[in-house]
């Protein structure tokens, strides 16, 4: 049965309109006057927005798995030495930790308001205000962490040759602080990257690039920011609140 399809021994003269066989019909998708931000490989803005947000969600899943390895290590070692971890955790300052938690929660609020500002075509000043507020809070967070890290350094709580532990469970304490620095350090790195992203978004907002028809970058940056916040929400109780120490 000949199906009119070319075979290897026949030359095909050129790539002009070959009749596609199992394709029902052709359909010219090219619309004039599309949004200036529509990238040419997408057919519609809606498709572009959905692809971008799905992309960020998938990326956040990879971040969960990335932090997940550290959470697993934490789980294993805390189960092995619960009193040791509790004892070590008491040397963390719950007040600073709580302040940081509050700071990040508020920063998620300001972030959400920033997304909303873009989404409702608010004036660029308003959009930039909320984004910068988020950045200020993020910087405060990092400032507190710097204070805490310095404190740990002066008290010989940085694992390695200078680690000194006076309490009962030195091995467990050193393990706790190894995980403390790895987990909060990785989190802080993500915060720094977040601040970089926010800078870019703020500049774009200042340049009037966002309105109700196009605000995907803000939305997607917001998703990232909320994720970094949520990681902290897990880190805070797991690191700072072991053994009900805030009651003492």
């Amino acid at each position: 049965m000949s199906d009119g399809r070319p075979h290897a021994d026949e030359y095909y003269p050129g790539p002009v309109h070959q009749p596609p066989v199992h394709i029902a019909g052709t359909h010219v998708e090219h619309t004039h006057g599309h949004h200036p931000k529509l990238q040419h490989h997408f057919d519609t803005m809606a498709q572009q927005v959905e692809a971008s947000t799905l992309g960020m969600w998938v990326f956040l899943v990879t971040e969960i798995m990335f932090f997940g390895g550290l959470f697993m290590a934490y789980l294993v070692y805390r189960t092995a030495s619960p009193e040791g971890f509790a004892e070590a955790s008491h040397h963390l300052n719950v007040t600073w930790g709580a302040v940081n938690t509050l700071v990040l929660i508020v920063s998620s609020l300001t972030m959400a308001l920033g997304v909303r500002a873009a989404q409702t075509s608010a004036p660029p000043k308003t959009q930039v205000f909320w984004i910068v507020a988020t950045m200020v809070l993020g910087t405060m967070f990092l400032g507190v962490k710097a204070i805490e890290y310095t404190d740990k350094f002066t008290h010989h709580l940085v694992p390695g040759p200078n680690f000194k532990w006076e309490g009962h469970h030195p091995a467990a304490a050193e393990m706790f602080y190894s995980l403390y620095f790895c987990m909060t350090g990785l989190h802080a790195l993500h915060m720094v990257i977040g601040l970089g992203i926010m800078t870019v978004i703020a500049v774009m907002a200042w340049r009037r690039q966002f309105d109700e028809d196009y605000y995907t970058p803000v939305e997607v940056a917001g998703l990232y920011w909320h994720f970094v916040d949520i990681v902290w929400i897990f880190l805070f109780p797991l690191l700072y609140l072991i053994g009900g120490h805030f009651i003492e």
């Binding site: 790539p15 990879t62 550290l70 697993m72 790895c182």
Partner: protein
């Protein structure tokens, strides 16, 4: 005047190095992956040269240890994991779904640059003296005792992992959001299903090895002690974290090859795949269950017997979807119209060798038997049957099948058949004796060995020589075809699929008009009374 296609559409270096075209990026990957394949092959050559005689007389023990380590690191992370997805997946997925490009073209390019950066780190480690921990980086040797460039190599792996993650992310979003009108999930080519399943693994698994090798590097630099027993750490925790990724990683290596085989078997039987939805669901099943079996690498390390039993059980379960696929491919050939062109020869090789490789995996899943076989050459033979007899055969078959589409040229078919035969014969001669040596008790990673193992090693080295000829030949005739090969029509094979609807090579935007799909791909005969379910 040559018609405009993606290859001649821009001749400058920057039009290639700054391209956003998924097809050009695929070719960038092809070049770099080929480089790493031959680098890994060079290390393999050194290994086999040393193992010709029982005594360690060609190189020092330390050098040998670096050879097998770097063979593993380069082949796993820089060849096998990217190969089919980065070259064939990148090139074909948008075309197969009727799209103009992947969802994130710039991230696709970034993905390649990250791969190259990671490769440079690893190359630096190799050139500045090598790393000798084994590609598995087991602690505490890697964190406390090794005297080689562990950190550079670990960082190379860490960086390249992000290339994998971004590729997977791109594929997932593309397949979800960029399908042409009418192209429902169950009309997708099985090549696309295979890559979707692979992408799930890439995205979920790779971050875990990223954090794990990062911790190894941190431990080495900062003396943290997470895996160091002297500081209360647990070396077996490293093994759990490592294998949590590295087992699913082997499915990253094989699933795309299975996707290629599905396509080739249909094209060269001119027949619909038998059991389409079973193959599609099997791909997903392999991806999911593949995450639950990592403990079968840790049976003899003193892991809880009950945990071991669960891992053993699931390791047997994960074999079933692969078996289903093999039966379905075989049934596809039944009453087909079969032509043994080079791609089909590779597919046949795959069917036989993957079956053996997969079944020998079951030996290792049986706990009582694994005690004897763990860390012997039986394991080495098993995974080479799957990765070389399976994945590389799939890669070569796919490269031959789609070469005319990608380059617009036909390669020399008779040389290709000859090369395929050399690969098949060379491969079996290299690795079958290793099963025997393994059961006899020859351990892995041995620089020197007792005399009674020599005959197997000599056969193996002989086979490797033949195999290497089989790998070098395509380099020659593929390159030759670029300059002197016959020009290819849009569909040289008489095959079905959206990629055959567009010229060879395709225009930059893939299609001149967006296709609309009305029924499943790969319908060869006129639809008759349908026999059985899809």
């Amino acid at each position: 005047m040559e018609t405009l296609n993606y290859i001649n559409n821009g001749h400058t270096l920057s039009s290639w190095l700054l391209t956003r075209d998924h097809k050009r990026i695929a070719l960038l990957y092809l070049a770099s992956i080929t480089f790493f394949f031959f680098l890994g092959g060079l290390f393999a050559f050194m290994i086999r040269l040393e193992l010709l005689t029982p005594a360690g007389d060609v190189m020092t023990a330390d050098t040998y240890n670096k050879m097998f380590t770097m063979h593993g690191v380069v082949m796993v992370f820089f060849f096998l994991i990217p190969s089919i997805p980065a070259v064939l997946g990148n090139f074909l997925i948008p075309i197969m779904i009727g799209a103009k490009d992947l969802a994130f073209p710039r991230i696709n390019l970034l993905s390649w640059y990250i791969y190259v950066l990671g490769g440079l780190f690893t190359l630096t480690a190799a050139l500045s003296g090598g790393v000798d921990t084994g590609w598995t980086f087991y602690t505490p040797y890697s964190t406390a005792a090794a005297n080689s460039h562990v950190i550079t190599a670990a960082l190379g792996v860490f960086i390249t992992g992000f290339s994998s993650i971004l590729t997977g992310l791109n594929f997932i979003v593309t397949i979800h959001r960029m399908r042409a009108p009418g192209l429902t999930w169950f009309r997708l080519p099985l090549f696309v299903w295979a890559h979707y399943a692979t992408s799930l693994i890439m995205v979920l698994g790779t971050p875990v090895i990223a954090i794990t090798v990062l911790l190894v590097a941190a431990e080495r630099v900062l003396h943290l002690g997470i895996f160091d027993p002297a500081l209360g750490g647990d070396p077996v925790l490293f093994q759990h974290l490592f294998w949590f990724y590295s087992h699913p990683a082997v499915y990253i290596m094989i699933l795309p090859a299975m996707g290629v085989i599905s396509e080739i078997v249909q094209a060269f039987s001119r027949k619909n795949i038998f059991g389409y939805s079973f193959i599609a669901f099997s791909s997903l099943a392999i991806a999911i269950v593949g995450f639950l079996v990592w403990g079968h690498h840790i049976f003899v390390a003193g892991q809880s017997v009950y945990a071991g039993m669960i891992f053993s059980f699931l390791s047997f379960v994960v074999a079933i979807p692969s078996a289903i696929k093999v039966f379905n491919w075989t049934a596809t050939i039944y009453k087909g119209s079969v032509r043994l062109d080079a791609p089909m020869l590779y597919a046949f090789g795959f069917l036989g060798l993957f079956t053996i490789g997969g079944l020998t995996g079951l030996f290792l899943a049986a706990m009582g038997l694994d005690i004897h076989m763990h860390d012997t050459y039986f394991v080495v033979a098993h995974f080479h049957y799957i990765m070389v007899g399976g994945a590389i055969m799939g890669y070569l078959g796919g490269l031959h099948y789609w070469w005319p589409k990608m380059t617009g040229r036909l390669y020399h078919e008779r040389w290709a058949k000859f090369a395929a035969l050399m690969v098949f014969v060379g491969f079996n001669l290299t690795f079958f004796p290793q099963f025997l040596a393994g059961y006899l008790g020859m351990p892995r990673r041995y620089h020197s060995y007792p005399d009674e193992f020599q005959v197997f090693n000599v056969a193996s080295t002989l086979g490797a020589s033949v195999l290497s000829v089989g790998y070098v030949l395509p380099m020659i005739y593929f390159v030759w075809s670029l300059f002197r090969g016959e020009k290819s029509p849009a569909d040289p094979w008489g095959a079905k699929g959206l990629e055959w609807e567009t010229p060879s090579p395709p225009p930059t935007e893939n299609f001149f008009v967006t296709p609309i799909v009305t029924h499943g791909t790969h319908q060869y005969a006129p639809p008759s009374k349908e026999v059985g379910i899809v």
